[in-house]
């Protein structure tokens, strides 16, 4: 197995997993999405924690923060749990959700901050700048798109409207923060001594997991609350997109974990060491 092959197979597998949701549709698509979405995030969290033990210092922190983020993010995709908490907290639910989201994203932002710091990859090139501008425009459009719903909500509850806007801004902010790191890693994918490919896939997974719903909102023309009510964890195309994003993230982390072992085995095969004892 090579890293490239593993990534290709992993992304193909992610696609299959994702397509299963709309294929199942009314015949179990909802149940499938309810299990697979949090399952993938928890899996990615465990993998990230495992990867953190491969490192020390900043890299260990990076993967630990990412593991915590994925775990917290995974918890809110367990619908039954969220429903129970919502019932228990009643009016305070939205405020609690906002606090929870701030804490969750704080871990992601910490991970990204450490990631950019540890990579020390230099400046973004001209293509990277164009990609960054596209990300910024997308961010502005996503935020702007929320204003009609925000105004509707503001008429009935100012607090709910504010929370709605803050959650969206946090999602977009996370995307804007991931983007430069992703571009820098992609830029260095072929550089000597730079492990960038699996990192880029992890970055793509994070971005897709965070902002796909907003892109879906833009493309469908419906409001987010309508989409959430109608499409979320029902075996819809939106579920497929989420599953694809989470799977990609898990694949990226898994490949990062196995990259060295696969590479070493390949060398050993070339040298005719098949099946010999590991000297370490």
């Amino acid at each position: 197995m090579t890293t490239y092959r593993a990534l290709a197979l992993g992304i193909l597998g992610a696609l299959v997993l994702a397509l299963l949701a709309p294929v199942l549709g009314d015949n179990g698509g909802a149940g499938y999405s309810e299990v697979v979405q949090p399952g993938l995030l928890f899996l990615a969290s465990v993998l990230s924690l495992r990867v953190s033990f491969m490192y020390r210092s900043l890299m260990r922190r990076l993967f630990t923060f990412l593991a915590v983020f994925l775990f917290l993010f995974g918890l809110v995709t367990v619908t039954s749990l969220v429903d129970e908490v919502a019932m228990a907290l009643d009016d305070n639910f939205l405020r609690a959700l906002l606090g929870y989201q701030v804490i969750t994203y704080a871990f992601l932002i910490l991970a990204l901050f450490v990631g950019v710091r540890v990579s020390g990859l230099g400046k973004v090139g001209s293509r990277g700048r164009i990609a960054l501008i596209i990300f910024l425009i997308l961010a502005v459009v996503i935020v702007a798109r929320s204003f009609p719903t925000f105004q509707d909500l503001a008429d009935s509850s100012g607090e709910a409207a504010a929370i709605y806007l803050v959650i969206r801004v946090l999602d977009v902010l996370a995307m804007v923060l991931v983007a430069p790191a992703l571009i820098l890693f992609a830029q260095n994918a072929r550089a000597k001594h730079q492990e960038s490919l699996s990192f880029s896939v992890i970055g793509i997974g994070i971005i897709t997991s965070l902002v796909l719903v907003y892109i879906y909102e833009l493309l469908s023309g419906d409001s987010l609350s309508d989409i959430a009510f109608r499409d979320y964890q029902t075996g819809s195309l939106l579920d497929a997109l989420y599953i694809f994003g989470y799977s990609t993230l898990a694949v990226g982390i898994f490949v990062h974990w196995q990259h060295q072992e696969w590479s070493m085995r390949r060398v050993e095969q070339i040298l005719g060491f098949d099946g010999d004892d590991d000297p370490s």
């Binding site: 890293t3 033990f53 491969m54 490192y55 020390r56 210092s57 900043l58 890299m59 260990r60 540890v118 072929r190 550089a191 000597k192 001594h193 730079q194 492990e195 960038s196 990259h259 060295q260 590479s263 070493m264 390949r266 060398v267 050993e268 070339i270 040298l271 005719g272 060491f273 590991d278 000297p279 370490s280």
Partner: protein, 360 residues
């Protein structure tokens, strides 16, 4: 010889060394007649004599080995399919992972490469990721195996190991020999401390060893029983150290060869049986060094040498390193009853023709 030309030859030598560990090219022989092994005395006497005669040679040996290994180790692991980012963020690796992975790469690639050349086996004993330090042990070291040496001698290996690790980790490394099999024979191995350029402890040890080095080799009479080395490794040392510095080292090589020849002659003179030419031919054949045909032409001596490691394979287009010419001169002088001196060496087909003229 230009730096670029000698660099190309050295790269070819590394490439050929890599061939020794690839299953499909393991059986290729460079010297079908004499075989690919040469007596260890050939290598050991050359390096130690040059270090003893030239105080600056230890540094040349170390630096050349470092540069050559650093440039080629990276290409070797890339040619074996290892990705360029294999050691990414090594300074952030856990100690356990660093030891396991470095040990595995060194064992599978570089230790195997040395072992296949009968040059020794390298082990990674410990890794200190935070300080960027490695402790290596080297068993069966070709530079000092079976000898008694007073003073440090394994500068080629120190430079090579620092170059290999430096190349893998993309940083400048230095290495000092902290125990030598030749000096502390009971250990059965040499030990090296490899660290980053800024490591003052290691750089101080290197400076001390290089300044104080004046090894006196004590070994048996050649050929050394059961002690041979693959000529590919001998060629790697010749190509790495001598070719890039031949302008500086040509006279030193000739003089070192003369000194080695005098020592051998002193050891075998009492057992002489027959004429000196036959004795020298027999000696070189027993060391599996080369096939010699020594002829007298009027006042000159013409020596036709076949299977000379200094002129085979990747070295076939290189300038000849004249250590053996000095050896022949001394042996013919000391064992015969005439006084001659080395005049020239030229390539004729696959042979080398060495001319000696009367010493007037």
């Amino acid at each position: 010889m230009t730096t670029q030309a000698s660099g190309t030859i050295v790269d070819r030598l590394w490439s050929s060394a890599l061939g020794h560990i690839l299953p499909e090219s393991r059986d290729r022989s460079l010297r079908p007649g004499l075989g690919d092994q040469v007596d260890l005395f050939v290598l050991q006497s050359a390096t130690t004599e040059l270090i003893s005669l030239n105080p600056g040679f230890a540094r040349v040996l170390y630096t050349s080995a470092y540069e050559s290994a650093e440039r080629n180790a990276y290409f070797i692991i890339r040619r074996l399919g290892m990705p360029a980012d294999f050691f990414w963020k090594f300074d952030q690796w856990s100690e356990d992972r660093a030891l396991k992975i470095v040990r595995r790469v060194v064992d599978r690639v570089f230790s195997e490469l040395l072992d296949q050349h009968n040059a020794g086996r390298l082990f990674v004993e410990s890794v200190d990721v935070e300080r960027g330090r490695f402790e290596l042990s080297f068993r069966g070291c070709a530079e000092c195996r079976g000898t008694r040496v007073s003073g440090a001698v394994c500068f080629f290996h120190a430079g090579t190991f620092a170059g290999i690790l430096g190349s893998m980790l993309n940083r400048t490394m230095i290495a000092a020999e902290i125990e030598c099999e030749g000096t502390d024979g009971d250990q059965g191995e040499c030990r090296f401390l490899v660290g980053e350029e800024s490591d003052r402890n290691i750089s101080a040890r290197i400076a001390e060893a290089q300044e104080e080095s004046s090894p006196k080799l004590t070994t048996g009479t050649p050929p050394l029983e059961q002690s041979t080395i693959d000529i590919g490794y001998y060629q790697l040392l010749l190509g790495t150290v001598f070719l890039p510095n031949l302008d500086l080292l040509e006279t030193a090589c000739l003089e070192a060869g003369r000194e080695i020849g005098r020592k051998i002659a002193g050891q075998i003179r009492n057992d002489m049986d027959g004429d000196s030419a036959k004795q020298v031919q027999s000696l070189f054949a027993s060391m599996r060094y080369m096939d010699l045909k020594i002829e007298r032409h009027d006042d000159d001596w013409l020596v036709t040498a076949d299977g000379v490691p200094e002129s085979l394979g990747a070295l076939s287009n290189a300038a000849v390193v004249p250590i053996f010419c000095g050896e022949l001169e001394s042996l013919l002088n000391e064992l015969g009853d005439e006084s001659i001196r080395f005049e020239s060496v030229e390539r004729v087909g696959n042979s080398l023709l060495v001319r000696f003229i009367p010493n007037i």
